[in-house]
Assembly symmetry: C2
Homo-oligomer: 358 residues x 2
Amino acid sequence: KKRFNIALLPGDGIGPEVISVAKNVLQKAGSLEGLEFDFQEMPVGGAALDLVGVPMPEESFTAAKNSDAILLGAIGGYKWDKNEKHLRPEMALFYLRRDLKVFANLRPATVLPQLADASTLKKEVAEGVDMMIVRELTGGIYFGEPRGISINENGEEVGISTEIYAAHEIDRIARVAFETARKRRGKLCSVDKANVLDASVLWRKRVTALASEYPDVELSHMYVDNAAMQLIRDPKQFDTIVTNNIFGDILSDEASMITGSIGMLPSASLSESGPGLFEPIHGSAPDIAGQDKANPLATILSAAMLLKYGLGEEKAAKRIEDAVMDALSRGFRTGDIYSPGNKLVGCKEMGAEVLKSV
Amino acid sequence: KKRFNIALLPGDGIGPEVISVAKNVLQKAGSLEGLEFDFQEMPVGGAALDLVGVPMPEESFTAAKNSDAILLGAIGGYKWDKNEKHLRPEMALFYLRRDLKVFANLRPATVLPQLADASTLKKEVAEGVDMMIVRELTGGIYFGEPRGISINENGEEVGISTEIYAAHEIDRIARVAFETARKRRGKLCSVDKANVLDASVLWRKRVTALASEYPDVELSHMYVDNAAMQLIRDPKQFDTIVTNNIFGDILSDEASMITGSIGMLPSASLSESGPGLFEPIHGSAPDIAGQDKANPLATILSAAMLLKYGLGEEKAAKRIEDAVMDALSRGFRTGDIYSPGNKLVGCKEMGAEVLKSV
Ligand SMILES: CC(C)[C@H](C(=O)O)[C@@H](O)C(=O)O
Ligand SMILES: CC(C)[C@H](C(=O)O)[C@@H](O)C(=O)O
């Protein structure tokens, strides 16, 4: 039997509910494939602020760092909204990504046939959308120096953030993207703003240079403003997208809203060697927390990504994905994806239905 | 009679066609309100590159600078796509904005009742969308220093761009936005990334501080990733949006695609005292250039913005807006907005129909 250490970081709001459900599904899918898991649950975000006064306690980070993979719930809530920047729950994400060096964020945006009507886009436009956004996650304007607010020579306040990419940072995310595209439909679109930003000029140059190593992948380039339009005009044109941290933040959220069901979407953040971080893309939804109303499918599908990308256990991952499709096909829906004719269930019952199908 | 000097910068692709049509409409609407125009036509962009080897010739700039308002067609084309950055047609826009100091870019995104079906969004989501995006246009990461590609201590290439805003730059665009919101439905949403970028922290602080001077305007704040989602989920929630240069580039293009008819959308770029720059938001469409297929309405509506925001001639502006509505209501459509049951016309005929209605 193979054993893995899994760090569970439930976080805030609906985080604990969806993590508890996903944990059961992960355990069952694993055990059917001969995998055993040791789970260690640790506080992060607002939960950690309340317990020990910081969003990312040392012990939580150590447990995460020493695990084989990390499953995170959600972070944040109204309660801490007025905290200063360094005492905000979201800083946990910031530190986790930086210190785990998870530079490659994989964000699938898929419209499931069962949910094609959930999108605000016309059905014929949304149906069949199936893309993967590869976002650089540990560089760019999120971390660049100089940064801060200072006083200029006129005695006036000036805010500065620096978009900066070194060649090796571009190369390593581009490689992940080329590899990803190769396993999908073989089309990679690199998104930048090379007509204005020098950081993008280097981005485009490096991505272009790598293309010859991946002759089976068809590479194209698009400006970020055009990409924001094309995602709405015809999202099906995209297979794999690669882009920097800030453009990836914007475009991956735009792409998820296009599916119309952000309660369904998982994500993976991978490093060169350490454990990966897997989390649903939705927030902590404090307004429905503790009411058994949350959709656990995004977290369950994040557990599938954990198996596939984090542990290399594709079979167990497939079991989970199939079980989710099965529960949907049997008509079970949480409130966020409910439409008449289906069966409205809560978080736990949805989890139980998926578990049945595993 | 009032006289105004108007600089016409037709530019490339379909630019000359749409400018020639819009000029006639402007002239008629003006003369009915007792205005006379002296037009001066000058090359910019690819046209200027071909003529004199630079995208923004000194003479063209001087004519623009000395005019009362500038009407621009479109810039760019495949022909110059491989040029080095400083010899690309788009640099004309860059220099024009910078040297005319047009810091306030007004980008309406409106779904006309006649065209509600053109959007890829469901009709009930798109119908009634009517927002104005106020984009900061002469600061931020477009112009910040340091910028460029250099070699770091490991001998590796590094690309740098700097997002930088001084307090007065934020204040002046925020004031334009508050004033704009005040004349609309009184709601202003400021979009930033204050949970990550220090430049955004200052942005939010300054915008918030100004709010007390505009008690009749309801101010809210939204992160840019969320804004990219909300524009798709429920675009009708927005009245006026204010944001920085790069976020404005992305979100205003996203918003225009939501209307489904980017051939209809005008823009205004205003400075503190000099002439404003008015242009359609669509590109130069080299694939249909010279075929009398272009939709001239975005340029005609830009001429209306020129009258309203550039010359303070609201009555003449209203004449043009009404004439456009009238031509649409009478069923005339260019190819990009055509739907069965309407009358398909070319650029010139569309112009003639609008002219009739002025
Ligand atoms: C919470 C925030 C710092 C974060 C980001 O901008 O990266 C979030 O929007 C995300 O995309 O995971
Ligand atoms: C052509 C380009 C430099 C320009 C910009 O990014 O500002 C364009 O996208 C726009 O929005 O007018």
